[in-house]
């Protein structure tokens, strides 16, 4: 009885690793969110045995960070991993370079995928970005200083980018005057703007932000009210 009383159920696990191979993980029945960071870019990684629904039956959000693009694509080709991702509310990735290839791999789950990128990277993607996807911009302070946000604003102002669903921005940049053209372009194109606290130290800061969970709670409440 005492063991039952002291039983802990982890809801959120953030694991950042520098190892050459993935350690053994157990199944986590209660986990709501899982962030897996992997800084070893040169190693071939097999996440197929880990990322499957039977290991994370309660998972709502998964973030995979710093994985090499090749490892990410390999993961997205695993039917068991794709099955898990398809059942999530949100899937977070970064370190994307060949966006068209990633889009192809994620075509069934694009609407729940949030891609983190630098502003210049987003600009370089050009028309490839015109997909129903969620985009989070990082290193905004540098981008604002360099003026590249204006280029992104011009890009988003064109009709071909109207599919972009939402743009996540660093909350600390909310007052930046130079962002007005970008936020204005989003408003005109009905791209939802979300301000959130972004990771400063990716090894330990939440990649899935408290603002994301707050919005999830609101969305759930609205759905429940509709159902009533």
């Amino acid at each position: 009885m005492l063991n039952l009383l002291s039983f802990a159920e982890l809801r959120n696990l953030h694991y950042f690793c520098r190892r050459a191979s993935l350690p053994d993980f157990q199944a986590f029945t209660s986990l709501r969110s899982f962030t897996l960071g992997w800084s070893n870019q040169s190693t071939e990684l097999d996440l197929g045995n880990l990322l499957r629904r039977s290991n994370f039956p309660s998972l709502q959000a998964l973030a995979i960070t710093h994985l090499s693009e090749l490892n990410l694509l390999r993961t997205l080709q695993e039917p068991s991993s794709l099955d898990l991702i398809e059942h999530l509310d949100a899937f977070f990735i970064n370190n994307v370079h060949q966006l068209d290839v990633i889009f192809d791999a994620l075509k069934n789950v694009l609407s729940s995928t949030l891609i983190t990128a630098q502003v210049h990277q987003a600009v370089s993607w050009g028309s490839t970005l015109s997909q129903p996807v969620h985009l989070r911009l990082r290193n905004m302070h540098n981008a604002i200083a360099s003026g590249i946000c204006q280029e992104l604003a011009k890009m988003l102002a064109t009709p071909s980018y109207s599919s972009l669903r939402s743009l996540y921005l660093d909350a600390s940049c909310m007052e930046a005057v130079t962002l007005q053209s970008l936020t204005g372009a989003c408003a005109n194109r009905k791209v939802e703007l979300v301000y959130e606290e972004v990771p400063s130290n990716w090894t330990i800061d939440p990649v899935i932000s408290p603002e994301f969970w707050r919005r999830q709670r609101v969305r759930r409440r609205l759905e429940e009210n509709k159902a009533k």
Binding site: F7, E9, L10, F16, R19, T203, P206
Partner: protein, 130 residues
């Protein structure tokens, strides 16, 4: 009307709103510092601020200096800790200590610097009764 005459629940709401409710590396030190100061204001403030102080714990300063938190120290904090941040190195049983002692842990951040530390102790938090 003095602050101390406010209902405890209202004071709790005010204190809760003065500090972040989750860990972030840029706000953690200020959060803990603010709560420590609030603990010194009055008994009423202490009773509200101290549990919040122990709700989120960054153990990295210990592990960076190869000083794993001691059993008694973790045991003392365990009933309050909801969110913990730890680092793993080749030596030390930090994960073992955290998982065996923190019965209310809901969020765990592991920055793994080791090559072969066993993550088996995480299964204690897996939500599976064994």
């Amino acid at each position: 009307m003095s602050f101390s005459s406010l209902p405890t629940e209202l004071v709790r709401q005010i204190i809760n709103s003065t500090v972040p409710s989750t860990f972030h590396s840029t706000t953690y030190k200020d959060r803990q510092s603010t709560l420590r100061s609030l603990c010194l204001v009055s008994r009423q403030f202490f009773s509200i601020a101290q549990p919040l102080l122990r709700r989120i714990v960054d153990f990295r300063w210990k592990t960076e200096t190869s000083l794993s938190p001691g059993v008694s120290e973790v045991a003392q904090w365990n009933t309050r800790v909801r969110q913990a941040v730890i680092q793993l190195f080749e030596q030390g049983g930090t994960l073992e200590l955290m998982t065996s002692s923190s019965s209310k842990l809901q969020e765990l951040t592991v920055d793994d610097h080791s090559n072969d530390q066993d993550l088996g102790p995480l299964s204690r938090l897996s939500g599976i009764l064994k």
